[in-house]
């Protein structure tokens, strides 16, 4: 298989990642502490692992395990704390600690979210929603620029799940994402479950969404489980990362792979952890979709 991580490295000013860090197998899972030992003892059939850098800002046990695991797996770093959408500059100390980990662990991809968490000195520990306005776009661009120049590397930004709808949106979500990439040279981490959640919560068309994001910007995809919460007579989908990827989301993923191509794909699971085996099986399901779509394309081209 081709070296995936670099296949979408459009030549822009910001480098994506050194070629020697690219991966061979497109599917990975989130690395979480309950599975450290098992992954060291019996490295599972996975192309790579993703970590939240914030969990490794200190020293001790977590870094110790990550150093061991890094010997067997490529790592991606998926930030949850840069707060790119806050109306204030990204925190310098956060950048410094993040960069220290990039230098040690050499992730093949770095990402964070199109959302905000910090206001003033308070950090709300959640990925909070943004109005899609010119002001938001400008602020995100400033913070993405600041991050990319600090890291000396391109980052990917992830589309969010949101539960509030703003009246004064000036553009659809995919347009905001395209503009971010165009203005800063960043790429997209396309979370297929989040697109599904958005389509339910905000009545948008997920196919239109996937068709309209600029495909050449997509450097990674996420898959996760969500829950359905009753709200009066209606339901709201919550991006809970605590269960299997739903069939509707698998279907949407297959569509995305057909349209966008074979992209590094991650199974995210952040609470109520299942056995490692379950995560590896979910990753296997993503791999078989990629293989099926790729084989279909090849036979189509051959025919």
């Amino acid at each position: 298989m081709s070296k995936l991580a670099t296949s979408h490295d459009v030549s822009r000013a910001v480098p994506f990642c050194p070629p020697d860090l690219s991966i061979d197998d497109p599917v990975g899972i989130g690395l979480r502490s309950p599975h450290y030992q098992e992954i060291i003892d019996q490295p599972p059939h996975l192309g790579w692992l993703e970590v939240h850098p914030e969990n490794y800002f200190g020293g001790g046990m977590h870094r110790h395990y990550l150093k061991q695991i890094r010997q067997d797996f490529p790592i991606s770093m998926h930030g949850v704390g840069l707060s790119l959408g806050s109306d204030q500059p990204v925190d310098e100390q956060h950048l410094r600690q993040f960069k220290e980990l990039i230098d040690i662990f050499e992730p093949f991809v770095i990402s964070d979210h199109v959302s905000w968490s910090a206001s003033g000195n308070a950090h709300l520990n959640d990925l909070l929603p943004l109005p899609y306005t010119q002001e938001t776009l400008n602020r995100l661009c400033e913070n993405i620029d600041r991050t990319q120049s600090y890291f000396g590397r391109k980052i990917l930004v992830e589309n969010p799940s949101t539960y509030l709808a703003f009246n004064d949106n000036e553009m659809p979500e995919y347009e905001l994402l395209n503009a971010l990439c165009e203005k800063t040279g960043c790429g997209l981490l396309l979370d297929i479950n989040n697109i599904y959640v958005q389509s339910h919560n905000h009545g948008i068309d997920p196919i239109e969404y996937i068709d309209n994001v600029k495909h050449e910007n997509v450097g990674e995809m996420h898959l996760a489980g969500h829950i359905v919460k009753k709200a009066g007579e209606h339901t709201i989908l919550i991006d809970s990362h605590n269960q299997l990827v739903r069939n509707e989301v698998w279907d949407l993923y297959e569509y995305a792979v057909k349209r966008i191509g074979s992209i590094p794909t991650l199974i995210e699971w952040d609470q109520d952890f299942p056995p490692l085996e379950t995560l590896v099986e979910e990753a296997g399901r993503a791999r078989s979709i990629i293989e099926r779509v790729t084989a279909g394309k090849q036979s189509h081209e051959a025919g």
Partner: protein, 259 residues
């Protein structure tokens, strides 16, 4: 509305009780369309995520408190703490500094004064667990220092160190909380100062019980008092202080960082 103002008002809405969630200003409410689901329901999803996730962080950091007061009491106390002291960094596993001081002022906990020191202990354990990696003083390092300058050496404690003195038997409280079947119930009436060193020499955090003179000596070193003066001051207060034994014990325990 400007982005900054929206974020400030949203933050204020999150850091107050959920029953007051609708008390946000009209210009804030006007930002959103409700559709099929009310604004209250939508804000509650976020409130639940923000306050719920931070409460969970505190629950994980303070298992002894949870054991002593129960899940519901801890959750209520955590919620009040979170509203008054939101995290200031995205590194949330370090969140909780000041929880011990908060408990001092928390009325429902007044009848359980030892909770404050148990919280201090748990904060120290958490700090040690996540402290940055540093290198221990090699056993022969001080022997390399010329004897005439030994007194000027500043011997630093590990970055993971906390020293705790408490009138409560914190170690017995901890053992009892962790394993009530095999440990006696701690005697909370007995006046007996407990002095502890919390430190992480390598990967595991240690809790080391200290004598009075040893505690004083470590406290002086923590304040960066040079070795000679620290020994002098400790001996003034505790004439029987045995520096050689102290140095040997804490070199083996890896309490000091390399020079």
């Amino acid at each position: 509305m400007k982005l900054a103002k929206f974020q400030k008002q949203f933050k204020e809405t999150m850091f107050r009780p959920v029953r007051e969630i609708q008390e946000c200003e009209d210009d804030f409410k006007a930002l959103f369309s409700e559709g099929d689901i009310s604004l209250e329901e939508r804000l509650k999803v976020y409130h639940n995520n923000v306050v719920g996730s931070l409460s969970e962080v505190l629950r994980v950091t303070f298992p002894l408190l949870e054991n002593l007061v129960g899940e519901d009491f801890l959750r209520a106390m955590s919620r009040d703490f979170i509203f008054e002291n939101p995290p200031t960094s995205a590194c949330v596993h370090m969140y909780g500094a000041g929880f011990d001081d908060f408990i001092k002022t928390y009325d429902p906990a007044k009848s359980l004064p030892y909770l404050v020191d148990v919280a201090t202990l748990e904060l120290a354990l958490n700090t040690a667990y996540y402290a940055s990696d540093d290198i221990a003083l090699a056993p022969d390092a001080l022997a390399q220092v010329p004897p005439e300058t030994l007194g000027d050496v500043v011997l630093n404690l590990r970055s993971s160190t906390t020293l705790i003195a408490s009138p409560y038997p914190l170690e017995s409280i901890r053992s009892f909380c962790l394993d009530a079947d095999n440990n006696p119930a701690p005697d909370l009436t007995e006046e007996h100062t407990c002095r502890l060193l919390i430190v992480r020499p390598a990967l595991e955090v240690s809790i080391i019980s200290l004598s009075e003179d040893e505690f004083e000596m470590l406290r002086l070193l923590q304040d960066k008092v040079p070795l000679g003066t620290a020994v002098e001051k400790t001996m003034d207060a505790f004439p029987t202080f045995d520096f050689t034994a102290f140095l040997q014990k804490h070199t083996v325990l890896e309490s000091f960082t390399s020079l």
